[in-house]
Structures are given as C-alpha cells and as structure tokens.
C-alpha cells in the first residue's frame, strides 16, 4: 500500500521540531549547529514530498538551492566557531554572553 504523502510531511515537521528543539536546549555550540542543519534537511524533505504530491519538479530543484545555502552556512559557521574555540577550551553557548544589558 502506498504511504500517503502527508505522512512524509508529518515526519518532516517532526524532524524540523526536533532540530529546533535541539538548537534551543543543547548547550554545546557544535550540537546547536548540527541541529540547525537538521532543520534545513527537514525542509528539504518537505520540499521533496510536496514536489511528489504536486507532481511538479520545481520543489526538487529548490532542494539543491537549499543544499548550496546550507553548505555555505556550514563554512562560515564553523569558521566563527573555530575562532571562538581558539580563545577558550570548552565552548558552551552560555559562556558567550558578555554582550548584554
């Protein structure tokens, strides 16, 4: 029996929620970063499942754009994180809070 498209959407939504939750709760910067990527991939899944449901190739093409952007983000994000890491041994998001008030 074929799995209705909406299930995929639900899975994607769950994945997205998971990613968001990950960014919110995990203190380690690297894990936050990974959850961010997870959210982007969840969106890819949504695109693909919609493309399949709508039977339109546009959605799938968009996935490639998302991938490209995600890659660019990774490069820059890791660059920043490494720069921070070089000053301090362990890096948690809460340490980085001298800019406040």
């Amino acid at each position: 029996m074929t799995i209705p498209g909406s299930w995929y959407l639900v899975v994607a939504a769950l994945l997205f929620g998971l990613g968001a939750f990950g960014v919110l709760t995990r203190r380690n910067v690297i894990v936050m970063f990974m959850s961010l990527e997870l959210m982007l991939n969840a969106v890819n899944l949504t695109f693909v499942s919609y493309a399949r449901m709508l039977n339109d190739v546009g959605g799938q093409v968009d996935v490639f754009f998302v991938l490209v952007v995600a890659a660019a983000e990774v490069v820059v994000g890791l660059g920043i994180i490494v720069a921070i890491f070089r000053q301090r041994a362990t890096v948690t998001a809460d340490d980085i809070s001298s800019l406040k008030g």
């Binding site: 968001a20 960014v23 919110l24 709760t25 203190r27 809460d94 980085i96 809070s97 800019l99 406040k100």
Partner: protein, 623 residues
Amino acid sequence: MGAVGFVVLFPLLGFLVLLTFGRRLGDPVAGWLGTLAVFGSFVSAIVVWLARLGNEGHPYVLRLFDWFSAGGLHVNVSFRVDGLSVAMILFVTGVATLIHLYSIGYMKGDPLYHQFFVYLNLFVFSMVVLVTANTLPLAFLGWEGVGACSYWLISFWFERPTAASAGKKAFIVNRIGDTGFLLGTFLVFEHLGSVSFSRLTAGSLNLSPDTATAIVLLFFLAAAGKSAQLPLFTWLLDAMEGPTPVSALIHAATMVTAGVYLMARLSPILALAHTADLVIAIVGVATAFVAAMAATAQTDIKKIVAYSTVSQLGYMMLGIGTGAYTAAIFLMITHAFYKALIFLGSGSVIHSLNGEQNIRRMGALKKYMPITTVTMILAWLSIAGVPPFSGFFSKGAVLENAFGDSPLLWAAGVITALLTAYYMGRLVYVVFYGTPRFEEVTHGHDPHESPSVMTIPLIVLAAAAVIGGLLNLPVSGFGFLGSWLAPVFGTAQAAYPMSAGLKDGLMATDAVVALLGVFLSWRAWGGVSENPALERKIFFNGWYIDAFYDRAFARTGTAVAEVADTVVDRQIVDGAVTGVAGVARLVGGAGRKVQSGLVRSYLLIMVGGLIVMLGYVLTVAAR
C-alpha cells in the same frame, strides 16, 4: 472751565520734575517745589470754581484723547467739571497744600526726603484724576493710583518690617475692594453700553432693581475697601506705620473719602436701589460704632485718631445710605479740616517727643506746646459736634437725615457721637493735661513747640474747622453747599419732610450729647492717665477682628500656598509627568534584563513570538 486740565497737570509736572531731579534738589528745595506744584493745582481749582460760579447748570467735560477701545467698549481720557468734582478738587488740593507745607518741616533730615514728595505729588495727581475722571476706567486709574501711592508711602520707612507689611496689607485689602469696582464697571457697561459718567445721569437709567442693587453693592465693596468700612477697615490701623503727614493727607483727609465720593458720584444708581442704600447705611453706622468703641481703649495716639477716622467715615456712609449726599459731602469736607488738624497736631506732639507715640508717656504738654494744644482743643470740640463748630452742623445734617430715614439709625448715630466726644476728650486730657510723664523720652529737657512751618498749617486748619460750618448752615438761604451740589444730585437727594420744631429738637439733642461727652471725658480723664476699667482689652485689640483676619487668611493662605507649591505642583501635577517618564524608564530597565546576552534565551523569545503569531493565524484560519 478748561483750567481743570491744569489742576491735573500741576501735580503731574511736580511728580515728573521731582522724580528726575529730586535727588539733586535735596532737602528743603524738593519739598518747596512739591508744595508749589500742589498749590498751583489749588489755584487752578479756584479758577475752575470761579468760572463755574456763573453757570452751575450742566456739567462741562474736557475730552483729551481716546484711551483704548475694543468692540463695543470706548474709553476716553476726559475730565468732568460739576459741582461735586469742583468741591472735591477744592478741598483735596487745599488740604494737600497745607500738608505738603507741614511735611517740609516734618520730614527734615530724612535721607529719602525728595522721594517722599515724589510719592506725595503722584498721590495728589491720582486723587485729582479720581475725582474729576469722566469715565469709570479713568476713575479706576486714579483709584488704584492712590492705592499704590498709599502703599509706597506707608512702607516709606521700609527698613521697618512692620511698615513694609503694613503697606503691602493696605494695597492688597484695597485690591480686594477694587475687584468690586471692576465688576461694577463691567455690569454698568453690560447694561448701559457705556462706562462714562455723562451716561449715568439720573432718570435716564433703565436698570432693573436687582441689577442696580448689584452694581451699588459691588461699588460699595470697593468703597468699603478704600474708605475702610467694616469688613475691610483693618488696613487703616496698620497704615499708621507711615509718616504722620501721610496719615493726615491720605488716611484722614483725601484718599479715604474716595469711597464716599464714588458713592456720591453713583447717586443716580443708588436712587434705584433702596435695599442697597439700607445696607450701606447699616454698615456705615455699625462701622462708626465699632470704631468708636475701639478708639476708647487705644494707647497709641495715632491709633486713636485712625479709629476716629474710620468712625467718621462710617457717618459719611450713613449719610450716603440715607440719601443725604450733600450732608455726607459736607461732613467729608469739615472732617477733612479737623481730622487733618488732629493728625498734624499729633504729628507735632510726636515730633517734639522725638517719635514717642504712646499717650501714657506724654501729659501736661499744654505748658510747652501752646499752639498745638489750642488747635487740638478746637479740633476736639468740632469733631465732638459742640456748637458752633463745623462738626455740629455737618454731623447734625447727617443725623437729621438718618432720623428721617429711620430713628433706629439716628439712635445709633447719637450714641456714637457721644463716644466720639468722649474718646477725643480722653486724648486731649491725657496728652495735654495731667502730670508730665515724658522724662525718659525727652532725656530730661522739656519738649519744644514745633517750628512755624508746621504750626501755620495747624492754625489755618483750626480756623477752617471752626468756621467750616458756614459752608452749609441749616438755615435756608445759607445752604451754599446744598445749592452748589443740587444740580449734581438732583432727584437722587432724599428730602425727608420734617417740621421745623423736630429739626430744632434734633439739633438740641446733638448739642446736649456733645457736651455730655465732653463732660464725661473731663470727669474720667481730668487727672488720671490710666484707667483699666475704661480701657477694656477687647476694644484695645480692635474687637480681635484683625487677629481673626490674620489667622483666617494670612496664616492659612501662606500654608495653602506652601502646600500648593511643594506638594500639589511638585508631587501631584509634576509627579504625573515624571511618573510617566519613570514608567517609561522602568520598562526600559526591564528591557535591559530581557537582553540577557544568552543566545538560547533570544531563540526562546523568538520561538515564543512565533507561537503567538501561529496561534493568531490559527484563530483566523479556524474562523
């Protein structure tokens, strides 16, 4: 007739010259210049009087220029010459000239000598403008002008705190009265469309009774303020802080009579408001009685005379209230003579006892100051109403009309006449007779008579006090003043039908009462200088009226002002504004806490915002 312009111009010139060159003119010259200016005004007053002798028919109005006009209101600077105003300018400038002369001597050696005459000349100018103004606002200029001059003159010796506050008190109490003047003027303008006296001719006014009453009562409030009637008389007592010539000129002869003049000038309206007239009469006689009682217990010579002035003014208001305008004006003129005389007499006593004013430290001065003593005795007899002195005729006329109006008023008037004779007698006996008590005041050597420049005015005034009665003898054909003022008052003048016998009876009772008063004062104060039985505390403190005013208005007023400033304005009204600013800053502060610097808290808030938006979207979608 145009000379009225000069009557006004001379004191103004005197004021301006003294203002600019006064300091350089120095001690005596400034005084003489001032006296000259007022004398010039007196001469021009006589010229006006002579010119007027011929045609007393209709009043002459000298129009100078348009003062201000807006909408329906047109006010011009114009002076009115009619019986009343001529009488007034004659006696005002006359008395003023004498008092200027007197002041040259009295104020000798005072550092601010020239400034005294600046204010005096300005005062005479304002007074003359007041009595000859043809429009109510111009009269108000004179009215407040004399008020301001009395403020400056009372607080002339400003070093003394009591003098400064006395001056301020005088001005403020006058101002309370002046609000009545303003409101009265507005009512007149509203109903008659004009503020000029020429519009206020008797008979042509279509005022409803209660409007007329309102107008009269409002103007009476002003008169009460200026002529020290019952509710607003306390300032006159404190006004004694000023130099004695000031008391003589302003607080005896001229300014205080402005209220009476105003009422006389408004006689056409008074004629339409009988209830208001009754009020005036009652207040007048009540003031007379209260002041007379208070005068019996004063120890300060000037306070006694001040209370006496208030009392005599009460009589004049009684005359006005009972419609006897001529009698009131007659009493005003004669009163000016003997009251000025008494003040100047007291002034020369004070002058010779270098400043001592308490009668308990005087006594037996008749040996050292013969002229002053004689003139004071003459003044005493005329104010008491002993025939044939002027007081007898003028007070008699007022009492006669009072009897015509209501015997009750007459009775009160007679009792007060008795008191008048009594307290003036007390003054004369204690000051001039009895044992000398001035040793420690004059440091051993005897008091000397005042210089001639001071005694001459005393003598002139004494003469005037004595023969003043001739102005308006009750005998037909000799009522010069009556006929002179008839065209002014016309129908407003009340004429009570009385049989000749009744008139003679009344005159007789006046004489008897006067003599009784003299006798009583001789019996009580012939030898002794203190008698607590007769000098009750309540009268000494002026029935505690002033004390009551002080606590009710002055103290609470300051307290309220204090609270209004510090609490109401700073905390409440301003507080509201700074409160709003405070709340804004509070929220600002909260903002800083939200900005915790933690990335994850930012994310949380963003997601929170998103959830709110999604919630909203769901409700919209669900609809």
